[in-house]
Amino acid sequence: MEKAKKGLTLDTFLEYCLIMLLITAIAYIGNWIYSDFGLMESLPGILILLAIAFVGYTLSELIPFNIPSVVYISIVGLLVAMPVSPLSEAVVAYTGKVEMLPLATPVLAFAGVSMGKSWAEFKKIGWRGILVAALVMIGTFVGSAVVAQVILSMTGII
């Protein structure tokens, strides 16, 4: 859940940086195991992605709208990689040595640990709740896919 109050203190900023560095270090090793890219080869890409995340996070703290930091981070990433950006070629080439999936793996390992907390509640939910939850996910997923399919073929992309 996004915090309600804004305001960047040195303490929270440094905490953010430290946590981000630790997780990225784990992802960096994961990328090395998962892909064919060596540790030296993927280092510039990892550092570029860290820089994008830091800039996006800082913007989200400085700009007084209650918009999640992930929105700023993806917009910063999008802008620097767009073909009109002078950095585009270098950013795309270096970050190409970092696969997308290994960046998510450590986060989901923490998510698994955190899920343990909700496990007792989950067991109480019962089959009716789980069935409805499955239908909710299917409904949104298939609904979006069908609308996208229709519009994509109308606009001649597929």
């Binding site: 998962y34 390992a109 923490f110 698994g112 409805v132 939850a133 996910m137 949104t140």
Partner: protein, 271 residues
């Protein structure tokens, strides 16, 4: 500086996660063929399962309740670098994204499919006002926050949204990953359309659901990732407004019409 002590005091948890990650990446992608298609399993799914098992397995004492509050912080911040990568991917393919703009924007309405499919079922199963909380959206953080502020989390609607939130958190990532393999293998839906649908939930759901598409259709990888990422960005940005102005009003309207018919003589307790 107490915060740093707190972070470093969770070093056992960090080492555990490092080991989990190394094992998961070592196993890599697993493709299980079923009939004419296949279901993909990804390192991030093993990582999640291993994390949960270690928490539930009592012998691993350091992965405990106190540590999980730290884990929550790591999740929120840890997703940032992944999102940066996703942003770069969509920036590099910006022309494809702009060309597909109308589809990307309109597929956001697809989440109304949830209300049409899941609400009648919830009523048939005996849920009352809980059904509105359950089926008005896909129940990620912004939606839970919205329902909490409108009805309170102790209300029937609040209990409903929490049920979907908890189940979604626990099995959503795995479920969406499997669903995208199944849709790509067994339905005529185009990989691009499925890619746009992978963005409807959280960032990790998007990762788990788009990765199987990328490995099934490697020559379309650029567009698939870009569409998935942009769709996820749009959902994150407009999700709350979709809920506020379309999802919840529509769900309440249908509830008033359908409940007297489908919900007659049924009642299930949720509290």
């Amino acid at each position: 500086m107490n915060k740093f002590k707190e972070i470093f005091s969770s070093w056992k948890l960090l080492i555990t996660v490092l080991v989990i990650v190394m094992i998961s990446e070592r196993i890599g992608l697993l493709k299980i063929p079923i009939g004419s298609g296949s279901i993909m399993f990804l390192p991030l799914l093993y990582a999640m399962a291993l994390g949960l098992i270690l928490y539930l397995a009592k012998p691993v004492k350091w992965v405990n309740k106190e540590q999980t509050s730290m884990a929550d912080k790591f999740i929120v911040i840890g997703i940032s670098v992944f999102i940066a990568k996703v942003g770069v991917q969509s920036g590099a393919a910006i022309e494809a994204v702009i060309k597909a703009g109308p589809a990307l924007i309109l597929q956001e309405l697809g989440n109304l499919g949830t209300i049409l499919i899941a609400l009648p079922f919830a009523l048939l199963l005996g849920f009352k006002r809980e059904a509105v909380g359950m089926t008005h959206s896909i129940a990620r953080e912004p939606n839970v926050g919205f329902i909490a502020s409108k009805y309170g989390l102790d209300s029937a609607e609040g209990r409903g949204v929490m049920i979907i939130y908890i189940v979604g958190t626990l099995i959503g990532t795995i479920f969406m990953g499997v669903m995208s393999s199944v849709l790509a293998s067994f339905t005529p839906l185009h990989p691009f359309a499925i890619a746009m649908a992978t963005g409807v939930g959280s960032g990790s759901m998007m990762a788990a659901a788009s990765a199987p598409l990328v490995s099934m259709f490697p020559d379309m990888a650029t567009e698939i990732t870009a569409y998935a990422a942009t769709s996820n960005l749009l959902s994150t940005a407009d999700g709350i407004y979709m809920t506020m102005f379309i999802g919840l009003p529509l769900c309440n309207f249908l509830y008033r019409k359908l409940e007297p018919v489908l919900g007659k003589n049924r009642k299930v307790k949720t509290n």
